[in-house]
Structures are given as C-alpha cells and as structure tokens.
C-alpha cells in the first residue's frame, strides 16, 4: 500500500473497523471458534438425548428411552440426526453470513472433516449396538450436518452465483 492510499484509509478508519467486525480477520480464530462451537453442540446433543450409551443428563436418558421405542430401522436415523444437527445449529448462532461463507467456501475441509472425526470416534467408543445400527447412525450423523451446510450455502449465495449472460 503506498502513502496516499494509507492516508485515504486513515479517513475511513471507523468505517473500516465497523465493516471488519463482520468479516474474517483471522482464519485460525474462525476455525477454532467453529470447532469449539461444534463440540459444544455435540455435548448439547448428548445432554438432550443419550447416544451410544452416553447421556449427560437425566433428560437425555428419558429422551433416549422414548426414541428407542421407535422401530429399529428408524431409531439410529433419528438418534444420528439429533447428534448431527446440534453443532450446526450452534454454528448458525455464532457466525454471521460473511463468516459462514468464509467457512463454507474457504475452509470447507474443516466442515467436511469435523463431523467425520467426531462421529466415528464417538461410534467406536463404548457402543452396545450391532454393526448395522452403527452404520445407520454414523451415516446419518455425518450426512445431516452436510445437508444442513449445503442448504445454508444455497441460501447464502443469494444472487451472487448468477453469472452474467452478456460478455
């Protein structure tokens, strides 16, 4: 940046700061916030519904006992969906549209990796269910946040992806 440019920028210091508040100044910080928010969401889901023999509150066990009355093909899907959706809702609360776009377009690898790492690790830890149940749960727990993020990405794109037809 040359001297006149930085001189001009000084006039807009306040405006720039108010705009930058919405944007991503540090990708590392954004990634850590996302990871922390997601993990908090997973804990929240375990507080709402016990999963794979892990329940953090009495309410979670009560919810799990109700859900286990659902016939087996559906039980793992419902449990997996509850496990997967909570962190995504958490991130919606933490981030504005700019930060969410940054996460989806520039740090997509984190959005892809985190549900896989957490869900696989969790499924392997003390699980009383059979393989079929586990696989159904795992696929749902990973697919739900992906589908949710794809939906969010679709909503966030707004008119931006409309390529100009004229050259």
């Amino acid at each position: 940046m040359n001297a006149p440019e930085s001189q001009n920028l000084a006039l807009f210091d306040k405006t720039l700061k108010s705009i930058e508040r919405d944007l991503v100044t540090s990708p590392t910080r954004l990634g850590l916030t996302y990871a922390a928010g997601s993990l908090a969401g997973y804990f929240a889901s375990l507080a709402i519904c016990a999963q794979c023999s892990v329940g953090l509150t009495p309410v979670a066990w009560h919810t799990a006992s109700i859900l286990h009355q659902i016939p087996d093909p559906w039980c793992p899907f419902v449990c997996g969906a509850i496990f997967g959706i909570a962190p995504v809702i958490g991130t919606l609360l933490f981030f504005n549209r700019f930060q969410h776009r940054y996460l989806l377009y520039r740090m997509w690898w984190l959005v892809v990796a985190l549900p896989i790492i957490v869900s696989v690790s969790f499924a392997f830890a003390a699980n009383p269910h059979d393989l079929e149940w586990n696989l159904s749960w795992l696929v749902t727990a990973i697919a739900v946040p992906y589908l949710f993020e794809v939906g969010t990405g679709f909503l966030l794109r707004q008119s931006r992806w409309k390529e100009l037809k004229t050259t």
């Binding site: 440019e5 700019f98 707004q158």
Partner: protein, 182 residues
C-alpha cells in the same frame, strides 16, 4: 505477485475476507472522494458520502454478480449516495448543478458542458413561478410527484406534464448557452 483485480477483491470480500475490503477501500477511497467533490460537494461532505458508500457496499455486496465490472457497479452505489446527500440537505444554496442535472435524467452532455460554470439559480429565473417551484420541490427537495400534488392541489398527471415541459425549456436554454460559448 500481481495484485488482485477489483472483481477479485469483491469476490474475496463477498466470501468474508477482511483483507479484501481493506485493499479495495485503500485503492478507491480517494477516487470516491474526488468523484463526490467533482459533483460539487465540499471535502468533508464528500468524505461522509464515501463512508456511506462503503457501508452500503457492505450491506449490498451479495447483490454483486460475478463477472460484472466491479468499479462500475460500485460507482452506481457512490452515485446514489451523492444524490442522497443532496436530498438530505434541504438547502438550495448548497445544491449545485450536479444534483440539479441528476434530476434531469438524460442530459448528460449538457451536464458536462454546463457543470463547470453555469449558475442554476440564474437558469431557474427564466422559468414561470409554478414551474420553478415544481423544479425546486422535485429536484432540490427530492419530493415525489404525489407529495407535490398533495401540497399544491394539482393532479400528479398535470405535474408530470409540467415537469416535462420545464425540462424541455431548460434543455433548450442549455443548448443556447452552449452555442453562445462556442
């Protein structure tokens, strides 16, 4: 490494990159101020207009379409901010030709030639009182035809016709003055 183009900067900004808006602002803030000053605004007002333009850019960046020339799109926002600035100040004395001509769309060539040295107040003196008041209300005060119709008791249709007649008169007058200069 080559510096990113304006289009690339707006794309990065859309994706939430704070560095991109900083670079875009550094690159164009001077130009925005110069544009507002060229439209007759004082330096302090021009800086305020530029700040408003960047805030509007932030609000409407999602409407920027990929592939569209970034600067042209951004300057439509700047131009609207300049007009809003004039409309915000109901002070006719501070209004200059630029704002006046913005109200008279399509007279861009006249704007370029007349902007420098013609006095709007003197031009308005040639108009009948009701036409002059209409121009003042519509252009300087930024009121809608409906508002003017309510306050004057005339119909919107007749006001629009009078406005067109007045434009034609002024257009002819600008043409005469242009020829005199030649």
């Amino acid at each position: 490494m080559a510096e990113p183009s304006d289009e690339e900067l707006l794309n990065l900004y859309y994706e939430g990159d704070a560095k991109a808006i900083r670079a875009f602002m550094a690159r164009h803030s001077g130009r925005v101020i110069a544009y507002a000053e060229a439209k007759g605004l004082r330096h302090e007002v021009a800086v305020e207009v530029a700040q408003e333009a960047f805030l509007k850019l932030h609000r409407f960046i999602h409407q920027y379409e990929k592939g569209r020339p970034a600067l042209a799109w951004f300057f439509t926002i700047v131009h609207r901010c300049v007009i809003d600035s004039y409309r915000g100040s109901h002070n006719r004395e501070s209004a200059t030709e630029a704002e006046f001509f913005d109200g008279l769309e399509g007279e861009e060539s006249a704007l370029d030639s007349a902007q420098q040295d013609q006095d709007v107040n003197a031009l308005l003196e040639i108009l009948p009182l009701d036409q002059r008041k209409l121009i003042e209300s519509r252009v300087f005060e930024g009121r809608s035809f409906k508002e003017i119709a309510d306050s004057t008791g005339k119909t919107e249709v007749s006001l629009r016709k009078m406005y067109e007649r007045t434009r034609a008169t002024l257009r002819a007058q600008f043409g005469l003055k242009g020829k005199e200069k030649l």
